[in-house]
Amino acid sequence: MSNIFRARPVTGTAGGRGILAHAGTLFVLLAFALLAFAHVSNATESDLVPVAAPTNGKTVEVGISNFTFTPNELTIAPGTTVKWVNHDDIPHLVAEKAFAFKSKALDTDESFSFTFTAPGVVEYFCVVHPHMTGKIIVKAGGA
């Protein structure tokens, strides 16, 4: 950047143009700032935070203990968030059977949350121990 400035000899007229150019830049910057501020104050939650789906604010926990998901079958209303919490001394990794969603490897006491919006039956398993399975039933009026 400094190279460009050095390459432009500052004559009287150029200096004048330079000052205007600086002022112009400042104006543009201010305008951007004002616009951004306006955007923020008028913004809805969905503009700022990439939420995958609308939530009803409710969270239900599924505990993982002794290589078992409890409750093993869970019925929820659309918009409910399910939070899997690992209580085992061994890591588990929660994934929908076709990998529509997957957690990272969950060490002891770590958790993974997912919000279910569409009604239907979701089967999931533990990628580390595939014989561990569970089911989420999403339906209107579900608990």
Binding site: L93, A105, H129, P130, H131
Partner: protein, 318 residues
């Protein structure tokens, strides 16, 4: 002690030569050798084992180091791995190489892979790896493992090599898992295996190593490989087949005709015997006893068309 109805499909078998089929829980080392065509077990003292192994081609099996594990069953899995490696470094006669049957790390984290490589590398021996399920739970579900140990392998990391006339095959049965299923080898790997052994003469000793037991040990705990029998049928014609597995953190051995199965101890923590606990997680033992449950295995090739001799040593042994 025989409990074969629990551990295999179809119950006990006797082959035509009347070979003894035996399923042994080994808390101490058992040495299997063939003498006049009949297998017999020899309780080994170090002197007998050394005599049999003298001059023989020997390699090591280590397994389930779970570097990064720090829960009550063993607060320092890296430390016990270091102890195991120190024992290897102190061996007066070095083995030719080591096989690690997987679960190198506990959480597939980079620093865990690094620590394991550094400690194991101190032996200066070549090491051949296959992944365990704990090695393929990175964000890319196996990309980290393959980036480090996948060179020269195919698919999810399977490969073979020859050493001293023995054909070694590393299989991967911890990827491509199906919800609700056991571990599996998948069609592509089995097709590769068929081609890989096609041209070998039946007298070539075969060693197959994979993380999860290739035969069904305890399906309720996921201890088995769904299509393992397919792999075993592809090597049925060979005079000596040795299957080396890990995953269950305890010794289980079985001889079925020409095929010997052996699972190794972990260097990190023991797990309960099948059905003896609500789940197969880490088993807490008194800390002064921990090292009796951890160990490494020495495998020696004694004679053609005979089982390889396997000597299991615990970290508590001198």
């Amino acid at each position: 002690m025989t409990n074969s109805r629990d551990w295999e499909n179809g119950g006990p078998e006797m082959d035509r030569r009347g070979a003894l089929e035996c399923m042994v829980w080994a808390g101490t080392g058992m040495l299997w050798a063939l003498s006049r065509g009949l297998p017999s077990s020899i309780s080994i003292g170090d002197a007998k084992a050394a005599e049999l192994a003298k001059g023989a081609f020997t390699f090591l099996q280590i397994s389930d180091s779970h570097v990064g594990f720090d829960k009550p069953a063993n607060p320092n899995a890296l430390g016990t791995l270091q102890e195991a490696i120190a024992k290897i470094n102190a061996m007066p006669v070095k083995p030719s190489f080591m096989i690690h049957t997987g679960d190198i790390t506990h959480l597939s984290k980079d620093n865990q892979f690094d620590d394991a490589a550094q400690v194991i590398g101190s032996t200066g021996l070549p090491v051949f790896y296959v992944p365990g399920e704990h090695d393929v739970i990175d964000e890319g579900l196996g990309k980290s493992y393959l980036a480090r140990y996948g060179k020269g392998s195919s698919g999810s990391g399977w490969y073979s090599f020859d050493q001293n006339g023995v054909h070694f095959i590393g299989l991967v049965n911890v990827m491509n898992l199906n919800a609700g299923g056991l571990c599996n080898l998948v069609v592509e790997q089995l097709a590769w295996l068929e081609t890989d052994v096609k041209a070998l003469s039946a007298s070539t000793p075969i060693v197959i190593f994979a993380h999860v037991p290739l035969w069904t040990v305890y399906p309720e705990w996921g201890w088995g490989t769904e299509d393992g029998a397919r792999a075993l049928s592809l090597v049925k014609r060979f005079g000596s087949v040795t299957i080396l597995n890990g995953h269950i953190h305890q010794i289980m051995q079985k001889v079925e005709g020409n095929v010997s199965f052996h699972t190794a101890r972990s260097t990190a923590f023991p797990q309960p015997e099948p059905g003896k606990a609500p789940s197969p997680g880490p088993m807490k033992v008194p800390s002064e006893d921990l090292r009796k449950f951890l160990g490494i295995s020495e495998v020696s090739f004694i004679k053609v068309n005979q089982p390889l001799a396997i000597v299991d040593k615990t970290l508590a042994d001198a």
